[in-house]
C-alpha cells in the first residue's frame, strides 16, 4: 500500500465536491483513478494492499448512509440506498418475501463479516478476481495497464468469462447481486458533477471490447446513490442459483438469477441473468425471448439455455463452462417454476 490522503465526506454534497477534483484529475482508466470513494472497503482496500490500486485521495462516503442508507418497499417497487449493507438488504423481510432473488444473491455472496461491511453501491462495482489483474507482477493486463496486453488469455482460465469477452480481456465479473438487479430490470441512481441521472442497471457496466480499463459508464467523480427495482408479477417467483466448488464463501463458477411470471405453466414473462462466466453483469434477453409464451418445461428451459450461451467464447480449461452454464440455467428455471408462492 502506498500513502494516500483520507477525506471524510459528511454528506452527498461534500462527497461530490471531492469527486469534482477527481473529475479534473482523472484520465480514462478507472482502476488507477487518483481519487476513489470508500464505502465498505472490501474491494478497494484489498486492491490497495496488493498495489493494484494506488489512489492519492480516498473519500470516505460512509457518512452518506443518512441520506442513502434506506430500504423502501412499496407498490411501485423496491428502493435500495447505495450505503445499505449487503447483510441488511439480505435480511430485510420485504426483500426476502417479494424479491427472493435479491436476498439470495446477497446471502450467497462472500462471508457474513464481509456482508456486514460491504455496501450495495460498492458491491456492484466489485472488481474482477482475475489473478493476472490482481497480481501486479504480471506486466500484461489491459484493465490495469491499458495497452499492455492480456496475460490471462492462454493461462489457466477456469475462472474466466466466456460471455462478453474480447481479445483484450477475458476477466470475469465476480458479483452475485448484480445478476439479480440485471434480471429484474433495475435502474441506478447516479449523482455527479454533471448532476443527477438515472440509467438502466444493464447499462452501468461496459463490455471490455478494446477498452477493458473503462469498466463502467460512470464518469469520473460520479457516485451511485441507490437502485430502484420495479415491481412486477415475476419478482416473488424468483431465485438465485449459485454453483461453486465448495458450499460457501466462494465466487460462482456459474450462476443464474431467474424470475418467472407463469400463467397455468405458460411463461408470461421471464427474467434471466447469468454469472460466474460473464465479462459484465449479464442479462440474457435471448433466454427470456425463448421462454416467453411457452410452457416452462425441461425442453423450453433447454432451448432458453442454448440461446443464452450461443455466443460463448472459450479458450482452454474453460471449455466446460458453457455446458455448466446451460445446466445451471435449466436447473434454476425448473426450480423457479416449482416454487410455491
Amino acid at each position: 500500500m502506498r500513502p494516500f490522503r483520507y477525506e471524510h465526506a459528511a454528506d452527498r454534497e461534500a462527497a461530490l465536491q471531492a469527486g469534482r477534483s477527481a473529475a479534473a484529475a482523472a484520465g480514462e482508466a478507472h482502476v488507477r483513478a487518483p481519487v476513489q470513494y470508500l464505502a465498505g472497503g472490501t474491494t478497494l482496500i484489498d486492491l490497495m494492499k496488493l498495489d493494484v490500486m494506488r489512489p492519492e485521495v480516498v473519500v470516505d462516503i460512509n457518512g452518506l448512509a443518512r441520506q442513502h442508507g434506506e430500504i423502501r418497499s412499496g407498490p411501485d417497487g423496491l428502493q435500495l440506498g447505495a450505503l445499505v449493507r449487503m447483510a441488511d438488504a439480505a435480511e430485510h423481510p420485504a426483500v426476502r418475501r417479494d424479491y427472493p432473488v435479491i436476498a439470495q444473491s446477497l446471502e450467497l455472496a462472500a462471508s457474513q463479516q464481509l456482508r456486514n461491511m460491504a455496501s450495495l453501491g460498492g458491491n456492484v462495482l466489485q472488481r474482477t478476481r482475475c489473478n493476472y489483474f490482481r497480481d501486479v507482477t504480471w506486466a500484461a493486463c489491459n484493465k490495469r495497464a491499458p495497452g499492455s496486453g492480456c496475460a490471462a488469455i492462454g493461462g489457466p482460465d477456469r475462472g474466466m468469462a466466456v460471455l462478453g469477452v474480447s481479445e483484450h480481456c477475458i476477466a470475469n465479473y465476480p458479483g452475485d447481486f448484480a445478476g439479480a438487479l440485471a434480471a429484474l430490470g433495475a435502474t441506478v441512481d447516479i449523482e455527479g458533477p454533471g448532476g443527477r441521472r438515472v440509467i438502466p442497471f444493464e447499462e452501468l457496466h461496459r463490455l471490455p471490447g478494446d477498452t477493458p480499463h473503462i469498466e463502467t459508464n460512470l464518469a469520473p467523480g460520479e457516485l451511485i446513490t441507490g437502485f430502484s427495482v420495479p415491481a412486477g408479477p415475476w419478482t416473488r417467483r424468483s431465485l438465485y442459483l449459485k454453483i461453486r466448488d465448495r458450499q460457501s464463501y466462494e465466487f460462482a463458477i456459474a450462476s443464474a438469477a431467474v424470475a418467472l411470471d407463469l400463467d397455468a405453466g405458460v411463461v408470461r414473462e421471464a427474467r434471466v441473468a447469468l454469472g460466474g462466466m460473464v465479462a459484465k453483469p449479464w442479462r440474457s434477453h435471448e433466454a427470456e425471448a425463448a421462454l416467453r409464451g411457452h410452457p416452462l418445461t425441461e425442453g423450453s428451459a433447454q432451448a432458453a439455455a442454448a440461446a443464452a450461451f450461443a455466443q460463448a467464447v472459450v479458450h482452454g480449461e474453460d471449455r466446460f463452462k458453457p455446458e455448466l452454464g446451460r445446466r445451471t440455467l435449466v436447473r434454476a428455471l425448473l426450480q423457479c417454476a416449482a416454487m410455491e408462492i
Binding site: R129, N131, I243, R246, A254, L324, T328, R331
Partner: protein, 758 residues
C-alpha cells in the same frame, strides 16, 4: 492398568484431557513467534522474483531508498557473500536466493527491504524496479526443457521389489492398468511464515514458527559460520505447520544478516502469496499402477511407478512406493520413482508426504480391481490382508487393518450400499459410498529431556518440543503425571526453545512416540532414585524392599503390599529441593552417533518400514459418502467415518481432533485444493486463499472417528504409534471411489471437480 514391565501406571494415559494450553490460545495469550515484544525493531518486507528462470540483471532502488522510513535494502550485491545456502528438506543442495543473481523459480527472494515500519517496508518493496535477464522456464511434467532423473537406490532409499512382477502381471487373469495424477498443493497454515532475529553481542536469537528448533538452529549457525552455542531458536507455539515449517528455508539467515547490519532486531512477516514460493509445497505426482490378480481376488502382481516434480538443483522426492509395496500380500512387486526437474521451488514435507499421493493411486486401483473382480472392496482387502511385510518378510509389529474396516463399515452403514455405480439417489443428488485403506509408518527418534519433581508433587518437564496445534504440551503433562503419580495440572511443560534438551522435529508422526518415551524414561529415573533412597534407609517402611517394586501413585511411594509413604517424605531423602533428571533416549536400531547428531539438529528417525526387527505401521479404514448433483455436478461430502488402530493413544480427545482434521483435509485434498500454474511462465497464479480453495465449515458434515483398541509391544516401550499423518491418507481414494460409485465416472486425478463429471 499396567505398563509393559507390569508396573501399575497412574491410569491417565488413554484418558481424554482438555488442552493445558487451551485457555492461553483461546484468550490470545499464547505467544506466537511474531508476537514477541521487541525493543526498537525494524521491519522487513521481501521482494520476490516475477520470473522463473534467469538472472537479476539489475535493480533500480532509487525510489525505494527515497521512501520515508526505508533504512536499507539487501540484495545479492551487498550481502550475497555473507551466507552459505541452506540445504533442502532432504539435506542436500537446493535453490538459492540472495547468494547470487540466479533465479531458480517464481517468487524467489531477490531483495529484502528494511524500514522503520511494516508499511514503509512494503511501500519501498513495491517501488523496487527489477530488470531481468529471463530465460524460457519449464513448468512441470511434459514442459520442454525438464530434466528427467530416474532415481537409484542408495543407503536411505530403496525401490521395493520381489519376484518377477512383469511376468506375473502379463500372466494375471484379472488386471488393472491405470494412471493417476495428483496436483501441486500448498499447506497455507494460518500463521504466516515469519522470522524475527535479535543479536546480543555474538549471540543470535531467532523467533520463528518451526517444526524443528534444533535443525533451524544448526542450519543458521552453519550458514552464518556461527558457533552452534551462539544460536538460539524459540518457537513456543506454531500456528499450524503441516510440514511447511519442517525444514529450514532461506529467509531466516537473511533476516539475521539484516539485524546484524542494522544493529537492532528485525522482524519479517511474509504475505500469504509469498508463502507459496518462499517455503515448500507438495509437488505434483504421476503414477502408473498395474495390479494383477487371480479370479478369486488374490494379488499376483503389483507394479507401481511414480514421477515427482522437483526444482533444478534438488532431487527431493517422497517415493511413496515404500508404503504401497507393503500394503497387501503379493508375491511379485516392482517399483520405480523418477524425479522431473523443472524451474520450480523445491517441494517438501506435507502431511503424509509419500503416502497421500501414492496411496491415492493404490487405493483407487484396489477399488477398480474390486469392480473388475465383482467383489466388495472391503473383501478384496481382506483377501489380501497380511501380518507379514510382503517386501521384507518381517512381521508387522501389529496390524489391525481389517478390524478397522469392519468397525468403520458397521458405523458407516456400508451394508446398505448397492455396489452398482449410479444406483443410489436422493432426489436430484446421486449418492456414492467409497472406502480406502489409510496407513502411516511408525517413526521414533532419539530425544532428550530434563525433568524435576518437588517434594510437594509439582513436576516440570523441559524439552525442545513443538506445539503445532496437535496438543504436544498436554501429551507430555499426561505422560509425566501418569508416571509420577500426579495430576495433569501438577505438571508444567516447557517446550519451544533450543536452550532446552533436543528432540526430533515434529514430523513424520514421530513426536508423540519420541517425546512420550523420553518423558517416561525421565520419570523412571526419578522413580528409581526415590525407590533406591527409600529401600536403603533404615528408618522407612520400605527398608530392604526390592526397589523395582515401588511405584508412584497419587503423590505417594507405594510398595507391592499396598503400604505407602507420602511423596514428600520419600523425596526429602533424595533432595531438600527438587529432584532432577536429565535423560536421553536412543531407540534401539539407531546408529551409535544418533544422540550426538541430535544436538546438531540432525535427528535420525527409526522408520517403521526399515527396522531390523519388525515392520511398524499404523492402519486405518476411511469411508466417505459423496453426493453429486445430477444436473450441475457439484460434489459434496456430507459424511465420513474412519477407524484407526494406532497403538497407545495418550490423549483420545486430542487424537479425535487430529483424526477429524485429517479427514477434513482429505475432503479438501480430493475436492478443492490445487495450486494452479501458468505453463508458459512456470508461475503460480492462485496464490491466495480465496482462489486456493480449502473446505469451509459448510462443506463438512459428520466426521465420525472410531478408535480401534490396539496394544503394540514391539513398536516402542509405550506402544505409541503416532497419529499425525494417517488421518488424511485414505481420503483421496475413498472420495474418488465414492464418486465412481455415485456416477460411474472413474476420475484418476485430483482434485475432482464439476467439469470432470459434466
Amino acid at each position: 492398568m499396567a505398563d509393559d514391565a507390569g508396573r501399575p501406571t497412574g491410569g491417565l494415559i488413554g484418558q481424554p484431557h482438555v488442552r493445558i494450553d487451551g485457555r492461553l490460545k483461546v484468550t490470545g495469550q499464547a505467544r506466537y513467534p511474531a508476537d514477541e515484544p521487541l525493543a526498537n525493531p525494524a521491519y522487513a518486507y521481501l521482494v520476490i522474483s516475477a520470473i522463473s528462470r534467469g538472472r537479476v540483471a539489475g535493480m533500480d532502488l532509487a525510489a525505494t531508498k527515497a521512501t520515508p522510513g526505508v533504512i536499507d535494502v539487501l540484495t545479492h550485491e551487498n550481502v550475497g557473500q555473507e551466507v552459505k545456502p541452506p540445504m533442502g528438506p532432504d539435506g542436500k543442495p537446493t535453490t538459492t536466493t540472495l547468494e547470487s543473481d540466479q533465479i531458480w523459480h517464481d517468487g524467489q527472494i531477490i531483495a529484502v527491504v528494511l524500514a522503520e515500519t511494516y508499511e514503509a517496508a512494503r511501500e519501498g518493496a513495491y517501488k523496487v524496479v527489477v530488470r531481468y535477464a529471463a530465460e524460457a522456464p519449464s513448468a512441470t511434467f511434459d514442459s520442454p526443457g525438464v530434466e528427467v532423473e530416474p532415481l537409484k537406490a542408495n543407503e536411505t532409499r530403496h525401490d521395493p521389489a520381489k519376484g518377477d512382477a512383469a511376468a506375473a502381471f502379463a500372466a494375471a487373469p484379472v488386471k488393472i492398468d491405470a494412471r493417476y495424477d495428483t496436483p501441486i498443493q500448498h499447506h497455507n497454515p494460518l500463521e504466516l511464515f515469519s522470522t524475527t532475529c535479535v543479536w546480543e553481542g555474538p549471540k543470535l536469537t531467532i523467533h520463528e514458527g518451526t517444526q524443528n528448533l534444533y535443525w533451524l538452529k544448526g542450519s543458521v549457525a552453519g550458514q552464518l559460520g556461527l558457533d552452534l552455542a551462539d544460536v538460539r531458536t524459540i518457537s513456543r507455539f506454531v500456528g499450524g505447520g503441516f510440514g511447511s515449517k519442517g525444514a529450514p528455508t532461506s529467509r531466516t539467515a537473511w533476516i539475521a544478516v539484516a539485524a546484524r547490519r542494522l544493529k537492532r532486531p528485525v522482524k519479517l512477516v511474509t504475505t500469504r502469496d509469498q508463502g507459496f514460493t518462499i517455503a515448500t509445497h507438495r509437488a505434483e505426482t504421476r503414477h502408473h499402477l498395474q495390479l494383477g490378480a487371480t479370479p478369486d481376488g488374490r494379488l499376483t502382481a503389483l507394479v507401481h511407478e511414480g514421477w515427482e516434480v522437483s526444482s533444478r538443483p534438488s532431487s527431493y522426492n517422497v517415493s511413496g512406493t515404500a508404503t504401497t509395496a507393503r500394503m497387501y500380500a503379493c508375491p511379485n512387486i516392482a517399483t520405480k520413482v523418477t524425479v522431473v526437474h523443472a524451474d520450480r521451488n523445491t517441494p517438501g514435507f506435507m502431511r503424509a508426504p509419500p503416502d497421500t499421493p501414492y496411496m491415492f493411486a493404490l487405493e483407487c486401483g484396489m477399488d477398480e480391481l474390486a469392480y473388475a473382480l465383482g467383489k466388495d472392496p472391503i473383501e478384496l482387502r481382506r483377501i489380501n490382508d497380511t501380518q507379514t511385510d510382503p517386501v521384507s518378510g518381517k512381521p508387522y509389529s501389529s496390524r489391525s487393518l481389517m478390524k478397522c474396516f469392519d468397525a468403520a463399515a458397521g458405523k458407516f452403514g456400508w451394508a446398505k450400499r448397492d455396489p452398482k455405480p449410479g444406483s443410489m439417489r436422493d432426489g436430484d443428488w446421486l449418492v456414492g459410498y467409497g472406502c480406502a485403506t489409510a496407513c502411516y509408518p511408525c517413526n521414533i527418534g532419539p530425544a532428550a529431556a530434563r525433568l524435576s519433581l518437588t517434594p510437594k508433587g509439582k513436576a516440570t518437564i523441559q524439552l525442545a518440543g513443538h506445539e503445532l496445534g496437535t496438543g504436544a504440551y498436554t501429551l507430555l503433562a499426561i505422560v509425566v503425571a501418569d508416571r509420577l503419580g500426579l495430576q495433569v495440572d501438577d505438571v508444567q511443560v516447557m517446550m519451544g526453545d533450543s536452550d532446552l534438551p533436543p528432540v526430533p522435529g515434529a514430523g513424520g508422526s514421530n513426536n508423540a512416540a519420541s517425546t512420550s518415551n523420553v518423558a517416561a524414561k525421565a520419570c523412571e529415573a526419578i522413580r528409581q532414585r526415590l525407590a533406591m533412597a527409600a529401600v536403603r534407609t533404615n528408618a522407612g517402611i520400605f527398608a530392604g524392599v526390592d526397589p523395582a517394586t515401588l511405584t508412584l501413585v497419587n503423590r505417594a511411594l507405594v510398595g507391592p503390599d499396598g503400604r505407602s509413604e507420602p511423596l514428600e517424605t520419600a523425596a526429602s531423602r533424595v533432595s531438600p529441593g527438587a529432584i532432577e533428571a536429565h535423560v536421553e533416549n536412543v531407540p534401539q536400531g539407531l546408529p551409535p552417533d544418533a544422540a550426538a547428531a541430535l544436538y546438531h539438529g540432525r535427528a535420525s528417525l527409526l522408520r517403521g518400514q526399515s527396522r531390523e526387527d519388525v515392520t511398524a505401521f499404523a492402519f486405518g479404514a476411511q469411508f466417505v459418502e459423496i453426493r453429486v448433483h445430477r444436473r450441475t455436478c457439484e460434489i459434496r461430502a456430507p459424511r465420513a467415518v474412519a477407524a484407526f488402530a494406532s497403538g497407545t493413544i495418550v490423549n483420545p480427545l486430542a487424537a479425535h481432533s487430529q483424526y477429524q482434521g485429517g479427514a477434513i483435509w482429505g475432503i479438501g485434498s480430493a475436492l478443492h485444493e490445487q495450486t494452479e500454474i501458468d505453463l508458459r511462465t512456470a508461475r503460480y497464479v492462485n496464490h491466495n486463499i480465496a482462489d486456493y480453495l480449502v473446505p469451509v465449515n459448510a462443506d463438512i458434515g459428520e466426521v465420525d472417528v472410531i478408535f480401534v483398541p490396539e496394544e503394540d509391544h514391539e513398536v516402542n516401550p509405550l506402544g505409541v504409534k503416532g497419529i499425525g499423518e494417517i488421518g488424511i491418507v485414505g481420503m483421496n481414494a475413498a472420495i474418488a471411489n465414492a464418486v465412481f460409485h455415485a456416477t460411474g465416472r472413474r476420475i484418476r486425478k485430483l482434485p475432482i471437480r464439476i467439469e470432470d463429471l459434466l
